[in-house]
């Protein structure tokens, strides 16, 4: 069973979780044998942007070690064999250019979505 994890909402408690909860979940189910890929759309296309960092997060005396490193998590996901796709129009709307996107992430236009969806048995929208 092939699954497409369609992520539209971004930065849901990423600091508290030290990760994006759906990217993490995708890595976990892939570890359990799932053939799961990722489509980034809506605000989640921001995850495709290279060079993000939240190092230095501090609350009172609490300095957060190991803050979320989304770029690293996406690279690890791709290293495991997952396909990661970002919706081109949503990148453009946010001023993110192709040169700023993490290498290995595919950019697909909205008109290609039906064809993409057709390649999967399940599409889970998050």
């Amino acid at each position: 069973m092939r699954v497409l994890q369609m992520i539209e909402s971004a930065y849901r408690a990423t600091l508290e979780e030290q990760d994006d909860t759906v990217l993490w979940f995708t890595r976990a189910i892939r570890g359990a044998g799932a053939a799961a890929d990722v489509l980034l759309c809506g605000t989640a296309v921001s995850y495709a942007l290279r060079g993000q960092s939240v190092e230095g997060f501090q609350v009172g005396a609490w300095s957060q070690r190991h803050p979320p490193a989304i770029e690293h998590e996406i690279r690890k996901l791709m290293e495991s064999g997952a396909r990661v796709v970002a919706l081109a129009e949503d990148l453009t709307e946010r001023g993110i250019t192709a040169s700023q996107v993490i290498a290995g992430i595919e950019m697909l236009s909205r008109k290609s979505l039906a064809g993409l969806f057709g390649q999967y048995d399940r599409i889970w929208k998050w």
């Binding site: 909402s9 909860t21 570890g31 359990a32 929208k125």
Partner: protein
């Protein structure tokens, strides 16, 4: 006559935040009443749905006592679905994400809810005719 199926649901919203939660419970109720087996994976805030520490309250604005108000607590809804499955003679398996439970201290939950991991969700989805993810927005 509908052929009995197995349906999986992933819930993510914490209680008392979104109408999606009530909708999810209604969908699960409808599936059970039609004789379908149900698998539920509660992820992130949704693990708190089954917490037994939830308490109903009176409502001064409504002018009602605790008894009159009959304020809903999601853990009673979870129990009601587990009971309904038993009455219907169908299987319901409710799994709380273990790490999410630990983060929230949501350890005291209704009997019949068990602890698991995303691997359990993948097994549920693999064994189901279909799976609905109801994610936090």
């Amino acid at each position: 006559m509908t052929t009995p199926a197995t349906l999986s649901f992933l819930l993510m919203d914490a209680p008392y935040e979104q109408s999606r939660t009530a909708t999810a419970f209604r969908l699960i109720d409808a599936a059970l009443r039609r004789g379908h087996g149900v698998r539920v994976f509660a992820y992130e805030g949704a693990v708190s749905l089954a917490m037994t520490a939830q308490k109903p309250h009176a409502n001064a604005i409504h002018g009602r006592t605790v008894e009159e108000e009959a304020h809903p607590t999601p853990h009673l809804w979870v129990s009601a679905l587990l009971d309904l499955a038993k009455e219907q003679g169908v299987v319901i398996d409710w799994v709380n994400c273990g790490l999410c439970v630990d983060e929230r201290g949501a350890t005291d939950v209704v009997a019949g809810v068990r602890r698991g991991s995303p691997a359990d969700f993948w097994k549920m989805a693999s064994e189901s005719e279909n799976t609905l993810v109801i994610a936090t927005r």
